[in-house]
Amino acid sequence: MRRLFLLPLLSLSAWANLSPEQIAKLPPPATRPVDFVKEIQPLLEASCVKCHAKGKTKGDFSLETRAGFLKGGETGPAAVPGKSAESYVVELVAALDPDNAMPIKGSRWTAEQVGLLRAWIDQGAKWPEGITFAKPEPHNLKPQNVALPASAERHPLDKLLAAYAAGRGQTLPPAVDDRTFARRAYLDVVGLLPTSEQLEAFLFDPAPDKRAQLVRTLLADRRNYTEHWLTFWNDLLRNDYKGTGFIDGGRRQVTGWLYQSLIANKPYDRFVAELISPRDETSEPFTRGIIWRGVVNASMLPPMQAAQNISQVFMGVNLKCASCHDSFINDWALSDAYGVAAIYSDDPMELIHCDKPTGKIAAPRSLYPQLGDLDPKLAKPARTARFAELMTGPANGRLATTIVNRLWARLLGRGLVEPLDDMDRAAWSPEILEFLASDLVAHRYDLKRTLEMILTSRAYQLPAVEGPRDEKQEYVFQGPLSRRLTAEQFADSVSSLTNDWARMPATLDIDFTVGKVAPPVKLPQWIWTTEPHAAGEFRRGEAEALKALAPAPPAPPKKDKKPEGNPADLLKHRVIFRKVVKLADAPTDAQAVLLASQGAAVTVNGVRAKNTLTDQSRGGRVAAMDLTKLLRAGENIITIEVMSHTDKGALNEDEKRQFPNSLNHINRIPGVAFYARALTCCEAEEICTDASWRVRRVPTGGWNSPSYDDSDWFAAQPLPAGVTPVDEGPTLEPLRRRDYANEKIELGPRLLAAVATAAFPGKARASLRPADPLAVALDRPNREQVATSRLAAATTLQALELTNGDTLNTRLIFAARRLLDQVSENPRAWLDEIYLHLLARKPSAAEQTDALAFLGETPKAEQVADLLWALVMQPEFQLIN
């Protein structure tokens, strides 16, 4: 802040008391009439408004209005009308004194510009009524009511669209044909191609409103809707199954909560409220952010991540620049970003400006004060609840406008407002945007309603058009843009072609019993042991736990066997659970899950089961495994080994001093729950842990053998109702953060989801799988950051992956082998079916001839695979037209 004169305010003339020599140095005033709007306003906008307008008042000076301008600031009035030589502002912009010149940031004024200013002042500093440099009202924030124009059209959006087109003298072409519509609708609502049967059923349906009916039917397919839109929300909520930051529990998933919310079609306001003000750990990870290891820039601490992500995703506001300094690309200030971040911070937050502490503490506040007050004195849970109230309250029209804009962009290829993350801009049709927003709000924030509204409108059914080549030109809506299949849609299309789907999802977080995706399951019991360690020894914590839960410990075993093998500390605490299971038949499929308080391993008939999936953030305490090849008809010996102690991550002296109460890696209850579902031709057999299992600490060898005698083992104890083992938690670096080393995770809530996954009927769509090289090549994003749109361009690396890569090739060969009989039997019919499925049309006569020639007289799997490849490489296939 420039403070050159600390004198009290004197009369006007004292300030601009330039000597005649200095006045002579000033550039002369222009000698013609100066127009404020054309000549002065742009100068002020370029040089002054960043610090002295739009709410900013550096040096206590605001030139938002003429009155303010003349009044001046700390150093006195800015100008004297009629007397430019005595006007302080002239002295400043002329930079007579280089240490006292304006603007502080930006280029020096030229002599000509100073002259214009002088002339304007001399001519009376006239400033047209109504012109201000005040912060303009944000676009799309205040809910508006939209009156639908009178129109022959019946659909409300069509009325608005007709008015838009008429206003531009546009004639809209007729709607696309049924086959084009069907392909679009299926891909857009459920992310799948219509099968040839589904397509033909639709084409031959005589109902006049069949398109609307199709839309409703597709929206009602809860499971497929969910597993398609899961991708959209995973991108937006930076939710993924694998990725950076999961190490040491620094990052968690909202997958379980998200899946459930989509199946239930949770109203959007509740959806947002549960993310912004989470009631439990299922939706908390979004605002929890990623807790990175090591030194993290102040702008990326978890509360700042929350501020950035909430603002971007739900409000279309970019706070990223404002996280380090007042933004240069919009009007958001550092204090705005910190205001929202402070809502999420456990401790007071000091504003850090470009890595330097400022000494100022941020007061929690929401982005737009016009939405309501947030009392900074509230404690954190009440604070986030209040913030959620403001965000989802009736005054916040931006919540609805942002989401309907995203949905519109998803379905039509370009938003009503672009870019999607910058909602403070005018839509190309404010009426359509406001109508969709108010319609959403009026219908309990039901997103499916908005989708239906758009999908049944004429806008959606227009023929696809070329995108605008130049974003600088004004956008004119002429129809939807041609869109590329997403990586997930491409993968699922290939799966549906071949009926070859992945068997397991990538996560153990989803309770698939919701929406009846998985059948009802029998929950296993949590079991543990009350057997004392040798010589009555217990690990820290176990003794207390035992006292609290167990009856008097049983008598030690009759035969006092000495433990064999490695006498190391670790083995002293090994606990083995054992069960003999009889199966009528060898299973065709058997998936199992294990949840344990510590590292655990399953052995079936002497073979260690390999984990197919582990919950990364729980360090493998929750794991899935495939037992299909290990289980057999007749007797099966299942043993589970649980380590009941670790000594990982002992704190050093510094840390012990800093966290004197840290109970790093306390071990409470070594318990386990195990579930397996063995499918045979005719039934499903569930194998669960319960009191019939046997358990022993450090038994002597051979316990995997069928002839082993476990009569001197103990019966496993089921934990009392409501009690679950405790996962000791991640091994995070505790320095400079609160003591995450103590963050324990209750395994109980995880049980149903894990078991439901084992019971999952084996059709995991691409959205439920982690990214593979093909998906990455097709632009599936790394969700370390929020991704609100994907680049759809075709790249050489994609083409290389599609042409040479093993992923696609293997799948097509597999498909070809499956389809070969069908192809050989009736190639023409098969060709029709393939074309209908992939392209929603029959092949032309020429295409049929060429294809049959390509297949040859006696096609082999290779020819079929190659034909399929040629078809899925067609732009016509890869684009949603």
Binding site: S299, K320, D422, R736, L791, T796, T803, Q874
Partner: protein, 494 residues
């Protein structure tokens, strides 16, 4: 009215077709004042992943042979020093071949890694490869992606950004993927990954089991269908065109002479041997158990060498940016947390012959002058100090008061206050030494410190790119060196 693709191509202008290139981020006007004349057209980064100890490689200090009961405080280097043709420069024993080509390049001894708190490999690797400290609010591009985006490929058939030797499906693969990417620039500029150099040919060949005839027929059929597909009827001609164009580009690579460069089996055997440590069988590489007892290093001894050979071959057909790594897997290779001395014997064997041979071969082929080779690591190591001498950071490794077991004999802690970077070719001074480190512990940088943005600025400047070049993402200018602050170390250029 429908038009065929042929018609479309006839009428579309060259500019239109050129603009079908991927991706949104626009280049900000490069600073007008800087008109940089490139001294190199290709960069090869030889990445010593895991933290390569400077006192055990290119900056040897006083040597202490192993003795039972020795005091670890006295141990600075576990190898004696050897001479190089350059007067002031000695190397650590085991690097004789590389020593012999020191007169072709420059050694920087004063590279200092950033202060990222708790020392984590993946974060320092991210910092080294992108120039920014993680995490960032946008998806950061890799050095190779920036170069690919700015300069494009050197030969249109060779992918501009090639990454050799790293697998991503084990260890900290997810963390590595985070920076081995084109980030916000778009996947067009992403890496062409070749984890196993000996299998590189497979990456540019038809899929396994497909004969060249079948491959050609398949492609012919695909084109026939595409050509007949009426464009006007189905929406975006441009989208279509860009899809077909990308297929053509891919196909061009597969049938070009460049594709042969990927095939190491075409290299005469006596040349291959020069890139391998003595006694190594080039046919036995793929499966090496991830044991921390030194067996992993011994069993993958030749892989890096073959990567260097592949890099040379790709250079010959016009590569732009190649990275060859010894591979980062936690606790393996350069990431020595125990048995440091013994493991360094293998590591030096792994790199010495191939790097020297790469330089000699490029020189012989007249390519060294325009090819910049950079050898670097994310940070260095010390026996006693963890991090920087004046910062307390959590100790990764315990050091006993007296060393009784050879497993404690070596540099096991992370040291970020010094590090070696070597540069050859591409207009860099020959036989030059930059920077100095202390002779006693802490062996930290005492002269001419080089930080990552300045190192990158130097590399960019060699390629003719301004360190202030920026691309816009979400309206933010994102500079190729951190905030545009990188300054090229001019004294390194000839």
């Amino acid at each position: 009215m429908t038009t065929t693709r042929r018609d479309f191509l006839k009428t579309a202008s060259a500019a239109t077709l050129a603009s079908l290139a991927a991706g949104a981020p626009r280049i900000l006007a490069a600073p007008a004042a800087e008109k940089l004349v490139p001294t190199a057209d290709t960069i090869i980064v030889l990445w010593m992943a895991g933290g390569m100890a400077h006192t055990e490689t290119f900056d040897p200090k006083r040597y202490s042979a192993f003795e039972r009961g020795m005091d670890p405080q006295r141990v600075l280097s576990t190898f004696p020093a050897i001479d190089t043709p350059v007067d002031r420069i000695k190397f650590s024993a085991g690097l004789e071949k590389m020593a012999s080509v020191m007169d072709r390049g420059t050694l920087i001894r004063s590279y200092t890694a950033g202060d990222l708190g708790f020392i984590l490999h993946s974060r320092h690797q991210f910092n080294w490869h992108t120039g920014y400290a993680p995490p960032q609010s946008v998806n950061c591009p890799h050095l190779g992606a920036f170069i690919s985006r700015t300069l494009g490929p050197k030969d249109p058939a060779v992918p501009a950004f090639i990454n050799i030797g790293q697998r991503f499906d084990l260890g900290e693969g997810e963390e590595l993927k985070a920076f081995t990417t084109a980030g916000f620039l778009g996947s067009e500029y992403g890496p062409f990954n070749i984890p196993y150099p000996q299998d590189a040919a497979a990456a540019v060949r038809p899929p396994a089991g497909m004969t060249p005839d079948r491959f050609a027929n398949r492609d012919k059929f695909f084109r026939k269908l595409a050509d007949a597909s009426p464009i006007g009827q189905f929406g975006s001609a441009y989208q279509k065109e860009s899809l077909l164009r990308s297929m053509e580009n891919a196909h061009r690579l597969l049938s070009s002479p460049a594709a042969k460069a990927f095939d190491l089996s075409l290299e005469p055997r006596e040349n291959v041997a020069k890139y391998l440590p003595p006694g190594v069988d080039p046919t036995k590489f793929n499966d090496a158990k991830l044991e921390r007892d030194g067996s992993y290093e011994k069993s993958v001894l030749g892989r890096f060498g073959l990567g260097c050979l592949l890099a040379r071959r790709l250079c010959e057909v016009g590569a732009r940016f190649i990275e060859v790594t010894t591979e980062y897997i936690p606790f393996l290779n350069w990431d020595t947390h125990e048995n440091g001395h013994e493991r360094l014997v293998s590591m030096k064997e792994m790199v010495d012959a191939p790097i020297a041979q790469l330089i000699r071969d490029l020189e012989e082929r007249g390519l060294l002058d325009r090819t910049l080779i950079v050898l670097a690591s994310e940070f260095s190591r010390d026996m006693m100090i963890e991090g920087k001498p004046d910062k307390t950071v959590r100790d990764q490794v315990k050091v006993p008061d007296r060393i009784d077991d050879e497993k404690y004999y070596g540099m096991h802690r992370h040291f970020t206050d010094a590090g070696c970077v070597l540069l050859w070719g591409g207009g860099i001074k020959r036989g030059h030494l930059h920077g100095e480190t202390a002779e006693e512990r802490p062996c930290k940088t005492i002269k001419d410190r080089v930080v990552i943005e300045d190192l990158h600025a130097t590399l960019y400047r060699a390629m003719g790119i301004s360190p202030k070049l920026a691309y816009t993402v979400e309206e933010r200018p994102f500079y190729v060196t951190r905030d545009g602050l990188g300054k090229s170390v001019e004294s390194l250029f000839a």
